[in-house]
């Protein structure tokens, strides 16, 4: 049990997907102008990462490893992810039409979010068991959502700030992200070993 709690903290905070591993930066910069879209995106991505990681784990174990097709991993994983995104889109449309409307164009773009492929590759390379892999994927995506919402909150304030013209837009956002990354480095004191 203790092992799992430590892993949860490790994957969500210490080795945060965005701020420590630099995955999913496009969505981090692209959809964090408002808190509600960032939260919706975080939710949808959490779902996609968890579902596709479970599927990728099974594909790796029972298809690629079993038949010695390791070199097809990249191609196979991206197909699995694209299907998972399609599945998520259908589910969200059924369950919550409001959220579907809100996320709109961002949903299909989750396919090219490198956090999804990155987490899948990380857990396959870590040779984790199924339960650990699922937990790792879920914890990583929780960390992703957390940082998305925090950064969106910062950027909502940033719009009102007086920023030098040359720094307006992305540059100042990068510098704020840098400060946020520094804050998150504080978590590295928590030992996960």
């Amino acid at each position: 049990m203790k092992e799992f709690v430590l892993m949860l903290i490790g994957a969500a905070l210490v080795n945060n997907v965005i701020l420590a591993r630099f995955l999913g930066l496009c969505s981090f910069m692209g959809v964090t102008t408002r808190i509600d879209t960032a939260a919706g995106m975080g939710l949808a991505t959490t779902f996609v990462i968890t579902v596709s990681s479970m599927a990728d784990w099974a594909v790796q174990r029972y298809l690629l490893d079993a038949y010695g097709l390791g070199f097809l991993r990249t191609v196979t994983f991206i197909l699995v992810i694209a299907s998972a995104v399609q599945f998520t889109e259908m589910t969200i449309r059924k369950v919550s039409p409001t959220l579907f409307q809100m996320l709109g164009i961002y949903l299909p773009l989750i396919t090219t979010n490198c956090a999804v492929l990155g987490v899948a590759l990380l857990l396959v390379e870590g040779h984790m068991g199924f339960l650990a892999a699922t937990l790792f994927a879920f914890a990583s995506s929780l960390g992703y959502s957390l940082v998305m919402v925090i950064f969106a909150g910062l950027r909502e304030r940033l719009v009102l700030a007086q920023v030098p013209r040359l720094f307006a837009g992305p540059p100042i956002a990068f510098i704020v992200a840098s400060l946020l990354a520094m804050a998150f480095m504080g978590f590295s004191g928590i030992s996960t070993s």
């Binding site: 995955l23 496009c26 959809v31 991993r73 492929l117 040359l166 837009g169 520094m182």
Partner: protein, 225 residues
């Protein structure tokens, strides 16, 4: 196509529409793999090869790719090229391959190749598409090398350290030590430094463009992927 158009392709790729500093695409490897100039250079070159090859293929098959399923087709073409680069680097540049690790397969979900396929290769002949892919890729390489160099110089006081180990003995002459070993600001090599260096370099490019009397691009982060 006239020579003027080729010139535009080269200039757009290397500077005016630089993938990292102007369009803010492909940010993940631009920050994760730029802890040293050598890593950035290697990562950039791998991406450039993938971009040139996939632009060439997409342009060659563009009349046969159905509009509705074009994105999956593009992704599969890029994924196939990435697999080739992945295997080739594993075989011939094993040291560099070990350093870049996860980020070689992740070229698939880098938004820059896909953006160029959609914006250029899907509606242009083979040669210009190939050049566009190549020079966008080289622009990406330059950007990554510059970010890597800035972070490496401030962070550890060296420049192109380990270049001979990662790229081959011929690059030994590039290895420099600019600052004493204990002068490095560790933060620049750690994740916060990646954001900071990239942010400041975007400002630097805006400043240079402004000096040259060009319109500076205030937009950005439109690559939502």
């Amino acid at each position: 196509m006239s020579t003027g158009q080729y010139k535009t392709i080269v200039k757009d790729g290397l500077w005016d529409n630089n993938g990292v500093f102007s369009m803010l695409l492909g940010m993940c490897p631009a920050m994760a793999m730029t802890t040293s100039a050598t890593n950035g250079f290697g990562m950039g070159l791998a991406t450039a090869v993938v971009m040139a090859a996939s632009s060439l293929l997409v342009a060659a098959f563009r009349s046969r790719i159905t509009q509705e399923i074009r994105i999956p087709v593009y992704i599969l073409i890029v994924a196939a090229m990435v697999t080739l680069v992945d295997l080739a680097m594993n075989a011939w540049m094993h040291e560099l391959y070990k350093v870049l690790g996860l980020f070689i397969p992740l070229i698939v979900s880098n938004c820059l190749p896909l953006a160029r396929l959609e914006a250029f290769a899907a509606k242009s002949p083979v040669l210009p598409s190939f050049l566009d892919g190549l020079f966008m890729g080289l622009g990406f390489t330059i950007a990554l090398t510059v970010i890597g160099a800035v972070r490496e110089i401030i962070g550890s006081g060296t420049l192109f350290a380990d270049a001979s180990l990662l790229l081959g003995p011929a690059f030994k002459a590039m290895e420099l030590r600019l600052l004493p070993a204990d002068m490095g600001v560790l933060m620049m090599i750690l994740p916060p430094g990646g954001f900071l260096a990239t942010g400041l370099l975007v400002v630097a490019k805006r400043l240079l463009d402004l000096r040259a009397g060009k319109e500076i691009q205030m937009a950005g982060a439109h690559g939502v992927a």
